[in-house]
Symmetry: C2
Subunit: 423 residues, 2 copies
């Protein structure tokens, strides 16, 4: 048998195991699922040394392959990060179980009693890169939402993922759940990704990609099953003529610089032409003084010699770094038009004291999250009160915005009658 056949067989075996596990997990009690999460958190703490040792090996290999500093940072684990992973699992215990929850309930004139009841999606395939903590987070979110998961991490974090996955399996076993509730693809062969996307349609119900543009593009291109996509966050802050200056300064600094590597970080600042005399210079100087590179149009450049000229490409760019593009626009309508043209429909904020202007922006900007007088960095399931999230969906279908346990469910209708027949 050649290697390709081996891989196909191996992956289909994982699919079969997932299907079998799905029957048990979909009807598992909240208590059982929480017990598995608690035991997994304990295992992560107990095996911290194993996890860190594995991570040291991953890091050494990554350095040998001369991977970027940003990637090394995402890959690196330490005491704190391992503890955060364990605590992350415990937070998911605290979330209410979406499965079996009644999302809606009504009675018909003929007496039929109808409930819309949440059920798992089924089997979720998660394809991710670099961050080993995704193994724990995604595994736990799927478990809590009654979904069996097949995880496929990046080759750079292979050893770390395996060590973390072993702790999740220990948790499942302790709770009497099938090990196959959370499986990790045991090979870094890229063909495994192709099989998950198009060769296992009878096993995998949904694919969630978590990674860079090239991964997401491959998934959108090849997937033969539904995808919960997480495209880039080219997020905008628009400072309107009626913005309170000090509020605008705080929001812009926070939106851009609190953390630059998250998808909700602002990438472009739009300033109303009517506010340039008062607002533009302080906003730009704040950013420059905080160490942020600014790439601006001619007006923005005129504010400070350190501002570099923005190119057309800058308006499309998600820097995920201390760089911001800045441009002057003619009021809210031009801001809306700029966002429609260059944005990625992720998260945008308007700063204004004018309720009508805000209402216009909130209605007309077609993004997953639109904010008024608040930082784009709130684009986060936890900040929304939804608990941990598997990402922010920029799709319109099924789930948009933060994807937490509730968004990982489907539903069915339960209809209770007393002998009704249809006339």
């Amino acid at each position: 048998m050649n290697a390709a056949l081996d891989l196909t067989g191996q992956m289909r075996q994982m699919g079969q195991a997932a299907l079998a596990a799905s029957d048990a997990l979909s009807v598992a009690s909240t208590q059982t699922k929480n017990e598995a999460l608690r035991a997994a958190a304990a295992a992560i703490r107990a095996h911290k040394k194993d996890i860190l040792d594995a991570n040291v090996e991953d890091l050494a290999q990554a350095r040998a392959r001369a991977l970027s500093t940003a990637l090394l940072d995402r890959l690196e684990l330490n005491d704190q990060r391992v503890e955060a992973m364990a605590r992350g699992l415990e937070e998911i215990i605290g979330l209410s179980d979406p499965i079996g929850a009644i999302a809606a309930h009504w009675t018909r004139p003929n007496g039929l009693d109808i409930s819309r009841v949440r059920v798992p999606l089924g089997i979720i395939g998660i394809i991710y890169e670099s961050r080993p903590n995704v193994t724990a987070d995604a595994g736990a979110l799927c478990l809590k939402s009654g979904n069996v998961v097949i995880l496929r991490g990046g080759s750079e974090s292979e050893r770390s993922n395996r060590a973390i996955h072993a702790c999740l399996v220990a948790g499942l076993t302790a709770a009497g759940l099938p090990e196959a509730c959370i499986q990790l693809v045991p090979t870094t062969d890229r063909a495994a990704v192709g099989l998950m996307l198009s060769g296992m349609t009878e096993f995998i119900d949904v694919i969630v990609p978590r990674g860079g543009k090239s991964l997401v593009a491959r998934v959108q291109q090849e997937a033969r099953v539904p995808v919960i996509g997480h495209l880039e966050g080219n997020c905008h802050v628009y400072v309107d003529r009626d913005a309170d200056l000090s509020m605008a300064r705080r929001i812009v600094l926070n939106a851009k610089l609190r953390r630059t590597g998250i998808c909700g970080a602002a990438e472009t600042l739009l300033v109303d032409r009517a506010a340039i005399a008062t607002h533009l210079a302080p906003l730009i100087k704040d950013l420059l003084e905080a160490g942020c590179e600014v790439r601006g149009d001619a007006t923005v450049q005129s504010v400070d010699a350190r501002v570099r000229a923005a190119t057309e490409a800058d308006w499309y760019t998600e820097y995920l770094d201390a760089i911001i593009a800045a441009r002057v626009v003619n009021g809210v309508d031009e801001a809306i038009a700029h966002i429609a043209r260059y944005g990625s429909a992720h998260t945008e904020s308007i700063v204004t004291a004018n309720a009508a202007t805000a209402a216009r922006f909130l209605q007309q900007v077609d993004s997953a999250i639109v904010l008024h007088n608040a930082s784009t960095q709130f684009a986060d399931g936890g900040e929304f009160g939804m608990g941990a999230e598997i990402g922010i969906s920029t799709d319109r279908f099924h789930a948009r915005g933060p994807v937490g346990v509730e968004q990982l469910t489907s539903y069915k209708y339960v209809v209770r009658g007393t002998g009704q027949t249809r006339p």
Copy 2:
């Protein structure tokens, strides 16, 4: 330019027009949309003769092509059916507008006010066969839900569809909405379907197929955009040992024979072995006497000489006709197992007076709709109180069960702050 290039150009032009119309429609008021529907209904009544004339031509061609009686019946329009189409539009006027509706609203401890607001999906492609009324129904449902639609009907109903579509366009024009809100693909070239499925991904957000198995299979295979699938309804009624016999007889007859051609019609009857002495013969004789063909296992055959032997294929078959497969099972668990193996996860009903047995069935049967003591023929958006529907989804993703205006929406998060930044 060759014909294929022509078609591609033509379809992309439709896509561009749809995009432009989408901006206007997504923010159109409820009043404007309802005005368009009212004017379209009036146009259908005013142009009844044109529609019926076109339909006569379609029917003549269908007869010449020796299409089946069932297809001819679906294709045929008459005074009553045209009036029903007009009234269908008026019913959609009565539905509450999902767009802008606040699906959820909460406040965070930091004062952020978060709303989940319904927005349109965008541009919907509907590919359908034979029934010309789908032109009106689907066009109107998309309009009400703020979605631009590109309709692609079957070649057999080409003239009827065009005549109906002209009335919808008249309605749009009367309300001042762009004509391109509802477009009908002006060719029956099958390549147009391929383009909608995979060659217009920047224009079409969702595909809804309405038709037979071969259409649905093609869509599932080729679509590069999300699909709201409507697979077959191989629906089951399980008559439990604790079923009230007279209730079971009424439900089985209604579930199978009220209308045999709808997806919620029962196709297989499962009878608990513990009830065969009392329940089996009356249930089977009722069906036979009502003119239903019964295909049964050995036990069912022993009841009446008219029962033919069921083959393995029968358990998988959606007859959409006065035929039923019937089998004896060992209690609710074997009924659940039979449904899991042969069913299409559409609609299943249990008849029993035993609450625990019912609860087990309702929880463990993984179908879009599960009923207790009620006919499967209630599988219908109207019967659920959701108004008109575009079909019953057997998918788990995005929408499951009846797909009405609410299921044709996405949402966005609107977050209102007072200057909050993220710590």
